[in-house]
Symmetry: C2
Subunit: 420 residues, 2 copies
Amino acid sequence: MALVVMKFGGTSVANIERIRNVAQHVKREVDAGNQVAVVVSAMAGATNQLVGFVREVSPLHDAREYDAIVASGEQVTAGLLAIALQTIGIRARSWQGWQIPLETDTAHGAARITKVDAGRLVERVAGGEVAVVTGFQGIEPTHGRIATLGRGGSDTSAVAVAVALNADVCDIYTDVDGVYTTDPRIVPEARRLSRISYEEMLEMASLGSKVLQTRSVELAMVYGIKLRVLSSFAAPDSIKPVSIGNLQDLGTTVCSEEEIMEGQVVSGIAYAKDEAKVTILKVQDKPGIAARIFGPLAEAGINVDMIVQNVTPDGAHTDMTFTVGANELPRALQVLEKVKQDLGYLDVRSSADVVKVSIIGIGMRSHAGVAAKMFQILSDKGINILAISTSEIKVSVLINSDYAELAVRTLHEGFGLDAT
Amino acid sequence: MALVVMKFGGTSVANIERIRNVAQHVKREVDAGNQVAVVVSAMAGATNQLVGFVREVSPLHDAREYDAIVASGEQVTAGLLAIALQTIGIRARSWQGWQIPLETDTAHGAARITKVDAGRLVERVAGGEVAVVTGFQGIEPTHGRIATLGRGGSDTSAVAVAVALNADVCDIYTDVDGVYTTDPRIVPEARRLSRISYEEMLEMASLGSKVLQTRSVELAMVYGIKLRVLSSFAAPDSIKPVSIGNLQDLGTTVCSEEEIMEGQVVSGIAYAKDEAKVTILKVQDKPGIAARIFGPLAEAGINVDMIVQNVTPDGAHTDMTFTVGANELPRALQVLEKVKQDLGYLDVRSSADVVKVSIIGIGMRSHAGVAAKMFQILSDKGINILAISTSEIKVSVLINSDYAELAVRTLHEGFGLDAT
């Protein structure tokens, strides 16, 4: 007997027929003797409708009220799935975040889970009842208000519930059948990865591969929760029920590095289109200048990603290039305009016509020359690199967005990721 | 300064424009220095959509899950109205039933309010913040689950909040501008009543006049809460703000008998179409027979209304006629079939082609001959009476539904209710 947490996203519960299908996936696990908690998102479209209502009332709205409103979507799905399960003879009840309680901090709209007080949940699940938990939300205990975890937050809810229940596995059912070496819409030769390390998945997620929310992977890594990415569109009886000691590799398993036998040097190619490039021309090159540029941006809550600094020929000035999220570009330019006097720069140029392409792989740690190979491959195609950033297991380059698909395809082939 | 509870139903909050209009009604009271709590229903159509989802999953569903699902409608409206109020400079926050908490019994789907622990609500409202409360729902404290109060339950929520806050008035904003002497769709001469007693309103409500939920009127009567029925479609500035000691008669005021100067003998004519008639033919007329018929029906949760018993010519048998809600007729017939052996009756006849027409008025208490006058008016039009029931302030007759409109019109005129 295993304890399984199953998470189903919005497209997996988009209508009553799909919810019935989810119930069959759950039934398979229950019939195999497993204890089950299910975490559900809102029905596809429901959250957008609710967000639309909020924006129609006011573009500037109280985040606490926003949360109270949008959290209702998951409440509907949880109740409907509980009924669907009961209808096929499975004991089940819905749990809203505040009922568990799943506690969060006060950062409404993007709250972090602080504590899951799962005593009652553990008891009921141990008693054989399926717990259907609302994803995406918890309760902020100081004021007793509903707080949501931000888009994709149901993944994090699922991992938090898995941690609280000490689950054997957390299966994330989604509309794709796993994590791919790159986006199959761009590279038809992309292969599904049967295993990927938490670290690689984190880089993939943060670089725009939208399969899992970044925080859910972090949480799974910290607590050693094995994640599997599976397709909810697969026939329920085509998947083998979870069995401890014989946990099949279905879809993609996200696990610790040690559990991955043959680590490839590069596991995947990610790209992020929602980047914007800002260049500050001819800033005076004096000590502390970086702090005086990036300090005000940080205070305004703007995330700066890649940073490149060039000294101009005269030696007294520098050009500073960095990237921010494309949606944060207008605010970033405002901030820079405000501090122009203080910084004494010549001009600011910006462009959203850029894309960040990254190669990711834990094998890079022990292999030299991976970055050089990447630059060579791009150079061979005449693709100009605007900025570079690296981590232990990742190399990212910023390029003109016209070359995005070409770069991804060429790198995928060049690093031997194409399906044979 | 007055403390005002304002309740807005589904059509009054049907879309964002209507919600903004509601915010203006609230602003009028706040600007006048009043303290305000608002109780809201789900946006028109929202509850039906949610109920539709539930029924699509299963016609026989867990009432606790049903409640968790349908309660989400009011949560959306409460949040949206709070934001709409903030947008026009009014401090406001939403309160879900469980956050107050507004406690109920365990009768999910038709729960009764048992306690409103309004300490925090009182504090915040006294501090000048508008409380926007979700109607229709509370929390069942033993298991911590959401419970709904049944259709129209938001009226009862509003009165319960008014009791807890010791409000000066509970204004029920709806899509009509008050309570009428009868349904104006049937009798264009119907007049709006400026005042009506709790007792009369109770009879009107229980007899199918859908302006207020019966339980809300009971609760208002017990605690002496003055109710006003107003139109939310009136321009917000066309209504004078509440002022203690000078509480204008707007719409219809529901209050105690003593506050009504000139009580009419008959205040209104109500009719209920959703009645069904059952006749049990030739039951053995022995002691305790009524208990053996109506006991099993009560056990099955079927409400029996009018009862008529005729002794048949042979003296040993009786025909028993009674009415039940039309939607309960199939179940009632099942119950009777089960006890046929025990009762030893000849046959059961039933018909849903009946309507109950009632005259209501506190003046009846001191005026004789009101029932006789009613029977004469109907007789003059050749309308046959199938059953009769009376209370201190009401006479009801069951007639063939073909004559419903004729009966209502003729009685309205006959008792001098037509507008002059």
